[in-house]
């Protein structure tokens, strides 16, 4: 029959053209319904269909499915097609299954069986079809089912190259979708690595991708690939012959393979073996040389391929960061690209240069291109390229060129794209502070910045200006002068009003003698802006006025008038109203000396890490992360302080200063640590505990952080967390150190602490936000305070999430903060001790435990532990010198709890008896529980 011949499938063509001709959605639906009924009729159990018909109907179903309609039948027919021997029928079957297949389990077993049959068949085309299908479905079950078959195909000697290629890619896909369910036998490692040496370039290319993914999972296991990769690379790059079968792309030999190999090498540090290393350097050198050669073709593909290899090589050079000659050459090469006509090239060049600028070897070389980069900033048409230019300028800035660069950036800011303005403002602010030689210059720049950028100046920027001014006596009068001048401009941004208001309030007296800026003029000038400002600024200005009352008593009545004015005294804004009323009363009641004390000049701010850097990192977590390791600035050190985040400039008054500061801090924290009711598992703390190495200190304990004030509280193969604590009465300052143990950056890093149940009322945690990225092998710090409100018994929960190699990781465990951390040792003589001991006789106050020794009974160890636990170890009190006695006080916010203990070792029985008495119920019991398995 002519209609049955070939694979024309006329019915399908007719159906599709019918659908295409449908005028409306309804018409289409009608046609589809009709067709579905027809197919159902054909597929009815009692009818037999030949392969061609099945294929045709399955095809129609597929088409209907792709139009967006549900298909709930025909699976069986599709699966039947899989066992057909005709290529087209098999192909359609696989197509249907990979497109429509979802979790229908009983079908899945059947499909897996069919795929397995095909994988074991002799026909390479069938094997490839099966591999394609596995990769397309690529779910967990597939990964489990074929965890052995596919690698076997990959490494066996008699599979065809095309099949190997598919197998490698299929494996890669399974590895990406469900890495944990794919278990690769370690015996195969060497053979997989050896695929890099495969004669067929296609197989090698596919294998590099796979190996790259596997390396990211277990770098050590695949270390052997460095050697092979380098030799393969050198064979391609340095060999004189150009016959690479079909893999020469517009005169560039195997560009894809080269790029992938170079990327693979970026997973490891520079090779240790000098011969390999020199070979690699030779390759890189050759690549850089080739870039200098004239183009072999005018076609854009040729230059693209060549540049792709070149850029990847430069990335590798930057990654290795050890060959200064290569780095400088790379930099020069990029310099040439900066003037290239091709926008993409310029972008890439700037991007790579950013990285180069952070390397000590090439920093100087990068600086040579400053002129060009600035030009790019001015003349470039593409926004993204300009943005890169800004990044590069920021990265290449140092003391020698800071003035120029800041000036250029300021000029550019006026015309900059709105989207990058805020970031630029931050960068300018940071650079000008970091490299300021003269703080007058810094102030000039900042005020100019606030004037130009206005809305794009984030809070942190002007907080920082205030901090700098407050902390440096020498610039205060200058600051007051220029702030006053800046305020005289007819249109003045609100941020400028805030800065000027604050500075004049503090240091207005320094310029009051100048007839151009008498107190009255200052005040009038400030007040002329008052009505244009938002409530927060008004609050700040009210504080300034109050400061004026102190500085210039002669204008006191003017200010009182203003405070008394209805718009303030009866303002609808509670904050303004409160300030107005309080300040008015203060000015009326207090005598000048009291006023002078209350309205004293602000003390210098404690030095700490600039909030600007924190802000910049929040904005751009991936870029500029290198800067963390540099000392941040001459005026700021990284000395820790309990609260980060700027002190609020508005809280100029000492009166409500403290409270507001805490509010502000709470705000900052809550921004970065979102409230979440994460589910945590109690058990994880135990399971992880088994992973951790025992610490080398003589004091051994299975409870972390119990006896020591610094400890490693968590460790696995990715990350290590250390803690350092310092007690100040009822508040503990802690520092957590998160160390990245891997070769990759951990991104989207975030930590959360949960106080569950009673703990909420017993503890108050205040943790600083942290950076979201930890660079490879680097560590970041998070500090914070934990206040003890009441005695507590549970442990806070901690939850850490991050992406390692794009795989989300989550760690839940109990944060080992025990009550004894708030225990302060107390010294007393024996009379005193026994007096107190006898006072605490009630049954709830005492707890006694008798337990066998777990460690050797050494006097000094015990003593060290008891002291580490927090209480004193008093000698000469107990008659038996082997016994330990001591005391301590638990500081909580609400009360102080006294505790006494007595530990009596019995060396013959290898037992201890521990008696603890405490002035509060339950505390003694808790301590006894904590200590009972520690000796």
């Amino acid at each position: 029959m002519p209609t049955m011949r070939g694979d024309a499938m006329r019915g399908l063509a007719v159906f599709i053209s019918d659908i295409r001709n449908c005028k409306s959605r309804e018409a289409e639906l009608r046609r589809i319904n009709k067709e579905l009924t027809n197919i159902r009729q054909r597929f009815r159990a009692d009818k037999t269909l030949d392969g061609y018909q099945k294929k045709k109907y399955v095809c129609k179903l597929l088409f209907i499915f792709l139009l967006g309609h549900d298909i709930d039948f025909g699976y069986m027919e599709a699966v039947n097609l899989l066992s057909s021997n005709k290529y087209t029928e098999k192909q359609i079957g696989y197509l249907f299954i990979s497109v429509i297949m979802n979790s229908s389990t009983e079908m899945k077993q059947l499909i897996i069986q069919n795929i397995r049959n095909d994988l074991q068949s002799r026909n390479p085309i069938f094997i490839n079809l099966a591999l394609q299908c596995v990769a397309n479905i690529g779910d967990r079950e597939m990964a489990i089912a074929f965890t052995n078959d596919i690698p076997r195909l990959l490494i066996s000697g008699d599979t065809l190259d095309a099949v190997k290629q598919s197998a490698a890619l299929c494996l890669l896909r399974l590895h990406r979708t469900s890495p944990d369910s794919l278990q690769l036998n370690t015996e195969w490692t060497a053979r997989i690595i050896h695929l890099l040496n495969d004669q067929h370039l296609g197989v090698a290319t596919a294998a590099v991708s796979l190996i790259d993914a596997l390396v990211k999972r277990s770098p050590d296991e695949y270390k052997g690939c460095i050697n092979l990769a380098v030799s393969r690379l050198s064979r391609i790059v340095t060999s004189s012959y150009t016959d690479f079968q079909d893999y020469t792309y517009y005169f560039v030999p195997a560009p894809w393979l080269c790029v992938k190999l170079l990327r693979l090498l970026q997973n490891y540090p520079p090779p240790d073996d000098p011969s390999i290393r020199s070979r690699l350097n030779e390759c890189l050198d050759t690549i850089l040389n080739k870039a200098q050669e004239p183009l072999k073709s005018k076609k854009v593909q040729h230059s693209n391929a060549r540049n792709a290899v070149l850029f990847e090589a430069i990335n590798l050079i930057i990654h290795m960061d050890c060959e200064s000659s290569l780095l400088v050459r790379a930099c020069n090469q990029l310099g040439q690209f900066l003037q290239n006509r091709e926008t993409n090239l310029r972008y890439l060049a700037l991007e790579s240069m950013c990285l180069l600028a952070t390397s000590e070897f090439s920093h100087e070389a990068v600086k040579k291109h400053q002129e060009t980069v600035i030009n790019a900033l001015k003349s470039e048409r593409d926004v993204s390229v300009r943005q890169r230019a800004v990044d590069l300028l920021y990265a290449m800035c140092d003391r020698s060129n800071a003035q120029d660069i800041v000036q250029e950036m300021l000029t550019y800011l006026e015309t900059a794209d709105y989207t990058i303005r805020e970031e630029m403002v931050l960068k300018i602010a940071i650079l000008s502070e970091k490299y300021a030689i003269d703080y007058k210059w810094y102030l000039d720049i900042m005020l100019k910045l606030i004037r130009i950028a206005g809305d794009f100046v984030s809070e942190e920027v002007w907080y920082r200006v205030i901090q700098v001014v407050v902390n440096r006596n020498d610039v205060q009068s200058y600051a007051a002068k220029i702030a006053f001048e800046a305020l005289q401009a007819p249109a003045c941004h609100e941020n400028m009003v805030k800065v000027a208001g604050y500075i004049l309030g503090e240091y207005g007296n320094l310029i009051a003698l100048d007839p151009r800026s008498t107190p009255m003029i200052q005040f009038d000038l400030l007040h002329s802006k008052y009505h244009l400002c938002s409530p927060t600024t008004r609050c700040l200005l009210l504080s300034t006025y109050m400061k004026f009352v102190n500085l210039f008593p002669e204008i006191k009545h003017h200010i009182q008038d203003i405070l008394r004015h209805d718009s303030n005294y009866r303002s609808s804004d509670v904050e303004i109203q409160q300030r107005a009323i309080e300040y008015l009363k203060l000015s009326e009641i207090c005598n000048p000396t009291v006023l002078a004390t209350v309205l004293e000049i602000m003390p210098p701010y404690p030095e700490k890490q600039s909030p600007l850097l924190v802000r910049l990192k929040q904005k751009k977590p991936l870029i500029e992360s290198e800067n963390v390791n540099e000392p941040s600035s001459p005026s700021t050190t990284t000395a820790a302080h309990t609260e980060d985040g700027p002190k609020l400039a508005e809280t100029a008054m000492h009166l409500n200063h403290h409270q507001q500061q805490q509010q502000q801090n709470g705000l900052l924290v809550s921004l970065d640590i979102p409230e979440s009711n994460g589910h945590y598992e109690e058990s994880t703390s135990n399971s992880f505990a088994s992973l951790t190495k025992s610490s080398t200190s003589t004091v051994q304990s299975n409870k972390k952080f119990l006896f020591k004030n610094s400890d490693i509280i968590f460790e696995n193969e990715l990350i290590q967390i250390g803690i350092k604590g310092e007690l100040m009465k009822s508040s503990m300052h802690i520092e957590l150190y998160y160390g990245n143990k891997t070769n990759f950056n951990l991104i989207n890093f975030s930590t959360n602490f949960f106080l569950s149940g009673d703990l909420e009322s017993e503890l108050r945690m205040n943790m600083e936000p942290i950076k979201t990225t930890i660079d490879s092998r680097a560590q970041i710090k998070q500090s914070g305070t934990i206040d003890c409100l009441k005695d507590f018994y549970d442990l806070p929960k901690m939850n850490i999430t991050f992406y390692y190699n794009n795989i989300p990781q989550k760690i839940d465990y109990s944060f080992p903060l025990y009550l004894n951390k708030y225990l302060e040792k107390a010294d007393m003589d024996s009379n005193n001790f026994f007096l107190r001991w006898r006072n605490l006789e009630k049954p709830n106050q005492e707890c006694q435990k008798i337990f066998p020794a777990k460690f050797p009974m050494i006097y000094d160890d015990c003593r060290q532990k008891l002291e580490g636990f927090g209480w004193s170890s008093l000698t000469g009190i107990d008659v038996n010198s082997e016994n330990f006695c001591g005391a301590g006080i638990i500081h909580t916010v609400s009360q102080q709890i006294g505790c006494l203990y007595r530990l009596e070792p019995n060396k013959q029985a290898n037992m201890y008896r521990l008696t603890i008495r405490a002035s509060k119920d339950g505390v003694a019991k808790r301590f006894a529980e904590l200590l009972e398995d520690q000796f």
Partner: protein
């Protein structure tokens, strides 16, 4: 206020675009196309708000009609306007279709200029519009005609011009009702109502005044209480409270839930005397619209019987009974029985009419040309299914279409009187035709 009116074809191409206000930009046209016509999910709302702009739309055959407004506008007014616009276009060039719209686009723009002014709806009466927007092209308008137009637009009776003369004074009255019903399997009426329209076609000379009487409960009550004819302008109706004793109602009176009149009806008279009097426009118009929910005589009853036999077979038996006077005949009867989505084959057997399985609609359609009153007919079907355990069939209701020559609500025209004082033709000289048509609305029985 309506900011603009757009007309699209089914592909979303703009056929007509008329913007009345500056707040509607060009992009509004595209916004509607992208978000409604080409939306992945079919939009189910008649009003869509995109970027603070409201789009009110209806679809007629393949044509989308959309009014746009930036302000907070009375939505009911907009839809009334859109409906009117469709009526006008239909009366000018018949069926609304892409081709008709393309062929008449000058006319449509002209109409749009006339019926909306700066977004405020103006006179949209077809008769009036036709007097100055014609399809004959430009012709010089005489002074007389001009004054006619002006007086029609500005005068008190905007819907009728003066000086109409007919040799034969004739009028046609159609009472068209559509019955809506939802009935349970057991034959219990779950909800029912009748939406009726009285459409009048008048060919009367001069400025005749008409009085129209119906068997509405209130008017009937009024008359029985007041032995004088209701046309007699009597004044005591205002004192008539609502405390009418129900004993006086006659059987034939019906309770109208709500009704709506053409603008020509003098509402003040209706309110005070419950009489419907009006000066009709020339030609066809809808005199009143009403709705009743009580005492509806259902013309047909559908009795379904569905039996599932195993997973692959189903038996459906449907009996239809006509429930009206044997002398009357129902027409265009069509019963639509939905079938499950996994149907593969259907065998049908019916005593009367023709039955067919329409796979494109997933339904069995049973048609009978006519059926007398008090008759019964039966259809049985055997449906073969493809086993499928994923979705349970939710048994949509069986729906029915028909036409019967009586008003199922019991609505009756009692009289229609015509008075023309100036031209001196009396009520008895006019020829009057009254016709009742009962149609099916959504007439469904659960199976």
């Amino acid at each position: 206020m309506i900011g603009g009116v757009f007309i699209y074809n089914h592909k979303g191409e703009v056929l007509i675009s008329r913007v009345y206000r500056d707040d509607i930009g060009r992009n509004a046209v595209d916004a509607f196309r992208v978000n409604v016509i080409h939306a992945r999910q079919q939009s189910r709302f008649p009003v869509v708000n995109i970027a603070r702009t409201s789009f009110f739309y209806t679809k007629r055959s393949n044509i989308w009609l959309c009014a746009v407004a930036k302000q907070n506008i009375n939505a009911a007014m907009v839809f009334e306007f859109l409906g009117k616009m469709i009526d006008i276009m239909q009366s000018y060039f018949g069926k609304i279709s892409e081709e008709n719209i393309k062929n008449n686009f000058v006319l449509i723009y002209e109409l749009l200029d006339e019926i909306l002014d700066f977004g405020y709806p103006q006179n949209s009466d077809t008769g009036v519009l036709k007097s100055f927007i014609t399809q004959q092209g430009v012709r010089p308008i005489t002074r007389e005609e001009q004054t006619n137009v002006t007086s029609a637009v500005t005068g008190q009776i905007g819907w009728r011009r003066e000086g109409i003369k007919y040799r034969r004074n004739e009028l046609f009255l159609d009472v068209i009702e559509s019955v809506n019903l939802l009935m349970s399997q057991q034959g219990q009426v779950l909800s029912t109502h009748v939406a009726g329209r009285v459409v009048m076609k008048s060919y009367l000379s001069g400025m005749p005044e008409c009085k129209f009487g119906i068997n509405d409960k209130i008017t009937v009550d009024n008359r029985t209480k007041n032995p004088l004819d209701s046309t007699n302008i009597n004044n005591n109706s205002t004192t008539n409270g609502s405390t009418n004793p129900s004993t006086t109602t006659t059987k034939t009176a019906i309770a109208i839930d709500d009704c709506q009149f053409h603008q020509c009806v003098k509402l003040s008279k209706f309110e005070s005397e419950h009489s419907i009097s009006f000066i009709p426009p020339d030609g066809e118009f809808e005199l009143m619209r009403y709705r009743t929910t009580k005492d509806i005589s259902l013309p047909f009853r559908v009795i379904p019987l569905v039996r599932e036999i195993g997973r692959t077979k189903m038996e459906v038996k449907v009996v239809v009974k006509s429930n009206f006077k044997p002398t009357l005949i129902g027409q265009k009867i069509e019963i639509r029985i939905p079938t499950p989505s996994n149907t593969c084959d259907v065998q049908l057997l019916c005593m009367k009419g023709k039955a067919k399985y329409k796979s494109s609609d997933n339904a069995i359609v049973w048609k009978m040309k006519r059926m007398g009153g008090m008759k019964e007919s039966q259809l049985s079907a055997e449906i073969e299914l493809l086993p499928n355990d994923k979705k349970k069939w939710n048994r949509p209701p069986i729906s029915m279409n028909f036409e019967v020559p009586f008003a199922p609500s019991g609505f009756k025209v009692r009289y229609l009187k015509v008075f023309e004082h100036k031209l001196n033709y009396s009520d008895s000289d006019t020829v009057k035709w009254v016709r009742y048509i009962g149609k099916s609305g959504l007439y469904e029985t659960r199976s």
